[in-house]
C-alpha cells in the first residue's frame, strides 16, 4: 500500500515538477526559440481550444483512429494467414524475415515518400506503416503457441473456428498486443509526418507552418498537443490491454512474486 503511494507520488509528482521548472525557468525568456510556457499555453488555448479543433485536431485524430484500426485488422488477419496457411507462408515469410530486422520507425521514410497529396493517401500510408509491427508480432505469437495446447485442441476435437478464436488468438494475445502498441506509435509518427509533408491541414501541418513562420509559441503549442495526444492514446491502449489481458498480467505478477 505504502509502496503504491510512493509510486503514485513519483509518477504524478515528477511531471508536475518538470512542468513547474519549465514554467519558472522560461518565465522571463527572451530567446525567440524558447518562449515562456505561459505564452505557449495561451497560444495552446487560442489555437486548439477550440478554434482549430474541428478543422485540424479532429482531422488528425480521425486519420489516426481509422488508419490504426485498419492496420490492426489487416495485421492480425494477415498474421494468422501467414502463420497457418502454407501458401500465405511461402508468399509472406521472406518479406517478414526482412522486415523483422528493421526497427519499425526506420520504415517511416518509405511511407512518407509514398505519400501523395490528399486524405486517402495519408490514410493509406498510416495504415501501411502500422500494419507491419502487428503482422510480425501476430505471426510470431501464433507460431509460438504451446504444442501441448495444440494437442489438447486436437484431442478434444475443437472446430477450426474454436481453435482460432479460443486457442490461437488468446494464446498469441500478449504478443499481438505488444505489436499493436508499436503499431500505435508508428501510426502516430506517420500521421504527423504525413501532415507535415503533404498537407495544409491537421496538427502536424499547423505546427510546421508555425515553425516556418517563426511563430515559436504556436509551434510549441502544437508539439504540446501532439505530446498530449500521444500520451493519451498510449494510456487508453494500456488500460484496454490490461483489461483484455488481465489473465496474462495476473499470471505474470504471480510468477514474479
Amino acid at each position: 500500500m505504502n509502496r503504491r503511494l510512493i509510486n503514485w507520488t513519483l509518477g504524478v509528482g515528477t511531471p508536475l515538477l518538470l512542468v513547474t521548472a519549465w514554467w519558472v525557468l522560461s518565465e522571463n525568456s527572451t530567446n525567440t526559440f524558447f518562449p515562456p510556457l505561459s505564452a505557449t499555453l495561451e497560444r495552446f488555448q487560442a489555437l486548439w481550444l477550440f478554434d482549430h479543433f474541428g478543422s485540424d485536431v479532429m482531422l488528425s485524430l480521425r486519420n489516426l483512429v481509422i488508419g490504426y484500426a485498419l492496420a490492426t485488422v489487416i495485421g492480425v488477419g494477415l498474421g494468422f494467414a501467414t502463420a497457418l496457411v502454407p501458401v500465405a507462408r511461402w508468399a509472406l515469410d521472406p518479406l517478414i524475415h526482412f522486415l523483422r530486422g528493421i526497427p519499425p520507425v526506420a520504415l517511416v521514410p518509405i511511407f512518407i515518400s509514398l505519400i501523395g497529396f490528399g486524405l486517402e493517401m495519408r490514410l493509406v500510408s498510416i495504415t501501411l506503416a502500422a500494419v507491419f509491427p502487428t503482422l510480425i508480432a501476430t505471426v510470431d505469437g501464433i507460431r509460438s503457441v504451446d504444442s501441448t495446447l495444440k494437442d489438447v485442441s486436437a484431442v478434444y476435437r475443437l472446430s477450426r473456428g474454436e481453435k482460432l478464436a479460443q486457442v490461437y488468438l488468446p494464446a498469441a494475445g500478449p504478443q499481438i498486443a505488444s505489436g499493436m502498441q508499436v503499431s500505435l506509435q508508428v501510426a502516430f509518427i506517420v500521421m504527423i509526418a504525413s501532415e507535415m509533408l503533404g498537407s495544409s491541414q491537421g496538427i502536424g501541418a499547423m505546427t510546421l507552418l508555425a515553425q516556418q513562420s517563426f511563430m515559436t509559441s504556436d509551434m510549441w503549442a502544437g508539439i504540446l498537443l501532439l505530446g498530449v495526444i500521444g500520451f493519451g492514446a498510449n494510456l487508453v491502449f494500456e488500460v484496454i490491454k490490461n483489461k483484455v489481458l488481465a489473465w496474462y498480467v495476473g499470471s505474470k505478477r504471480l510468477a514474479r512474486s
Partner: protein, 286 residues
C-alpha cells in the same frame, strides 16, 4: 464375433476380421478388444538422426477394462499414448478402436496429458477450461452445467471454478485436467501419469473415482503410472514396458476381488504377490 463386426460398414473391415480371428491375449472369451495395438513402431526423425522409440508393440484393452502401463522413465509411454490419441502417426503397425484404424483424434477418446500445467488454457477460468471441449457437443445448457459441476465436485475442486489455473497448485491443476476429461464423458479415457502431483489422500480418492466411472459409465481406461501399487490396485491387467526401443515385457492379469477398497484390497496377500510379480518384471535385467 465376426458377425457383430460385420455390422460396421468400414473400409478396414476385412483387416479387422482377420485380427479378430487371431485374438491376442484376450482376458475373457466373450470380451472383444476395444483398443488394439498391433506391431506398433514409432521412430522420431529420419536418416542418421532417426531415433526408434517404440518397436513392435502389441497389446489390447477390452471394453470396461482398466489397464495400467508401467515402465521406466523415457521408455516411450507418452509417445505410445500420443499414437493412440491420433496426435502422431505410427511409423509402422497400427492402433485401432473397434477395428477402425486410428489416424486422427478419435471422437470417443479423451487424453489427460502428462504436462498438465501446459495443457490448461491460462486465459480461461477452471470452469471455462472444463467447458471448452463440451461446447461443440451441443448439449443442452443444463446438462452441460451439470456435467461440469459433477466433474469438478468429483475431483474436489467445486470451490475453485472461478479461479485461473495459474492461481492453483500443481496438484489442483492436474485435477482440473482430469475434470475436463471426465466432463467430456469419453468412452475411452487415457491418462498419462495423472496423479503424479497430488497428495496421497487425494490420490486414493482419484484412484477410486477412476474405478467408479469405469463402473458407472462402462468407460475403458488406460493409465500410465510409475507407481506399482497404484497399477496393481487399479488394473485388470498391467502392461509392463521395457527395453529400448520399447516393447511389451509382459502383460500381467491382476486377479483381485471387486469392488476394490483402498484398505482391504491393499492388505490382501494376493495384492502383495501381484505387486511382487510386477516389480520383479520391471527390475529383471533385459
Amino acid at each position: 464375433m465376426t458377425r457383430t463386426l460385420a455390422t460396421h460398414h468400414h473400409p478396414g473391415m476385412e483387416n479387422s476380421m482377420e485380427l479378430q480371428e487371431n485374438p491376442v491375449a484376450l482376458g475373457t472369451a466373450a470380451a472383444r478388444p476395444r483398443l488394439e495395438v498391433t506391431a506398433l513402431s514409432k521412430t522420431y526423425g529420419s536418416g542418421p538422426n532417426a531415433k526408434c522409440v517404440i518397436e513392435d508393440l502389441t497389446f489390447t484393452v477390452t471394453t470396461g477394462e482398466v489397464v495400467c502401463i508401467v515402465g521406466p522413465s523415457g521408455v516411450g509411454k507418452t509417445t505410445l499414448l500420443k499414437c493412440l490419441a491420433g496426435l502422431q502417426p505410427a511409423t509402422s503397425g497400427t492402433a485401432a478402436i473397434d477395428g477402425r484404424r486410428i489416424d486422427g483424434p478419435p471422437p470417443e477418446m479423451a487424453l489427460v496429458f502428462q504436462d498438465y500445467s501446459r495443457s490448461l488454457m491460462p486465459w480461461l477460468t477452471v470452469r471455462k477450461n472444463v467447458r471448452l471441449p463440451l461446447r461443440h457437443l451441443r448439449l443442452p445448457a443444463q446438462e452441460m452445467n451439470q456435467r461440469i459441476d459433477d466433474a469438478l465436485r468429483a475431483v474436489g475442486l467445486d470451490g475453485s471454478d472461478g479461479k485461473y489455473p495459474w492461481q492453483l497448485s500443481g496438484g489442483m491443476q492436474q485435477r482440473v485436467a482430469i475434470a475436463r476429461a471426465l466432463a467430456y464423458r469419453p468412452e475411452i479415457l487415457i491418462m498419462d501419469e495423472p496423479f503424479a502431483s497430488v497428495d496421497a489422500q487425494t490420490r486414493f480418492e482419484l484412484e477410486d473415482l477412476c474405478l467408479k466411472i469405469r463402473d458407472d459409465f462402462g468407460m475403458t481406461i488406460l493409465v500410465v503410472t510409475h507407481d506399482i501399487d497404484e497399477a496393481v490396485y487399479l488394473s485388470d491387467r498391467v502392461v509392463v514396458l521395457g527395453a529400448k526401443p520399447a516393447r511389451v515385457l509382459d502383460v500381467i492379469g491382476i486377479d483381485l476381488p471387486a469392488p476394490r477398497d483402498q484398505i482391504s484390497t491393499r492388505s490382501l496377500p494376493e495384492f502383495a504377490e501381484q505387486r511382487t510379480t510386477v516389480l520383479s518384471m520391471i527390475r529383471k535385467p533385459a
